[in-house]
Amino acid sequence: MIKGNLPANEAQRLAALNELEILDTIEEQAYDDLTDLASNICNTPVSLVSLIDTDRQWFKSHHGLDARETPRDFAFCAHAINSDDLFIIENADNDERFHDNPLVTNEPFVKFYAGAPLILKNNIRVGTLCVIDHQPRKINQSQRNALQALARQVVTQFELRLQLKALKHLDHAKDEFLSMVSHELRTPLTSLIGSLGILEHQINQHDKEINPMLSIAKRNSDQLLLIVNDILDLSKMEAGKLVLDLTDINLIDLMQQAVKLNETYIEQCLCKAILKQPDTENLIVRGDEHRVLQVLSNLISNAAKFSPDGGTIKLSVTTDNHQVCISVSNSGSGIPLEQQKMLFKKFKQLGSTSNQKLPGTGLGLSICKHIIEAHNGEIGFESKPGEDTTFYFKLNLLN
């Protein structure tokens, strides 16, 4: 018996095989389909996707054979990986390299072998797609071509595997980046916002008139934190990392909570909020309470921001079939038509930020859209120049 020579690039070859992270994994349909096809086309009882490891050959797919591995020294495939061409042994009994090979003289009695090397980039051959018979025979040119074509499909599967691995790695890297950015931005903001909060507290103790410079610094550092939070929130959502903590939510309670949370802001905007009680008392939806509250809060604060002094923000609820529609309206001059298409886009704010009552981050509606769509809901608005503006979102009712 003559063993297959070690390829000149054996170290590189083993490294490439390890990178695939395929050895000792479970069987997969994609590979089994290819060995089935090879076996059918070449009319052989056995077909294998064989990978040549340091001391063994291991089978990712093994059509017609129970074994998952054999010693490398016995492997026909170890010869096959020394060339780019098909390696064919028509009668193993008559070949000095194999006539006394245990795989020939005993189970599985390999008498015929045809192996197409699996060639990765940089001409690295990690194994073969091969067909085996228990009696001497030949395969025709069409069968040879098919075997090579199927081998290329096996390599395509390997490439997909590597791409998936790279994507998972990228996903993990993005998570780490988000976490790092979150931490690195928030750490100096902690000192900044904290020290300004203390100064404000100290001045309030002794002087009812707050230094306007301090007020500016505090307000803008709070704004900076809002922007950081919104950017991180949106990054998470766009990366598909929004995880909803689903519970049954009483919508009316939540709307009341949202109004209360924004009380101070509404007063600062010199308007008032009215919640119109619906006919049905128990309106329950399945959702993430914190996130739905975030949407309500955002719509209410937007309504307050764009409401004229003395204006009214109206919250109402309607039901239709199995959906509930929550609306937040504000009086005003409506949204100009050319600005309406900017709504829900990132970092787009209506009007000039310099004449807004209290500037936002420009991300709120984009975040709301992600949240509502994650709930399989719908969000939209109605606004005509010179009329009230209404933002609404719809969710599926539980009851």
Partner: protein, 127 residues
């Protein structure tokens, strides 16, 4: 009368230490001892005998999670309330910290005026 009087505060960032010190001593009226990392905290914990520990997460020498583990190993402090203070705010990060055995998590930036109240709220829930 509350039995929450003494807080051991562990934080490596000097600026944040000063802000929290003012918030917890001058505003909330706790007796505070500050340490720069977990190793220092372990050296002073027996003598100071705190009622509660505020623990930063990312610190040199000994980080928050390791410090918590070492504190809980000691019988005297196996049930002491420990609150992590962290700038890591992704939901899975917060729940990972709670899974380590923390009593609560306060995210940074915090409001210095209400920090004492937040700490008391978490402490009272353990009673």
């Amino acid at each position: 009368m509350s039995d929450l009087n003494k807080i051991l505060y562990v934080e490596d960032q000097k600026d944040i230490q000063l802000v929290a010190q003012y918030a917890l001593e001058s505003i909330a009226r706790f007796e505070l001892k500050t340490c720069n990392n977990g190793k220092e905290a372990l050296e002073v914990i027996h003598e100071f005998a705190p009622d509660l520990i505020l623990l930063d997460v990312m610190m040199p020498v000994m980080d928050g999670p390791t410090t918590l583990k070492n504190i809980r190993k000691q019988d005297r402090f196996s049930n002491i309330p420990i609150i992590f203070m962290t700038a890591k705010v992704l939901p899975n990060e917060v729940s990972e910290l709670l899974d380590l055995g923390a009593t609560g998590v306060i995210t940074k930036p915090f409001d210095p005026v209400s920090l004492g109240e937040q700490v008391r709220d978490i402490y009272n829930k353990t009673r």
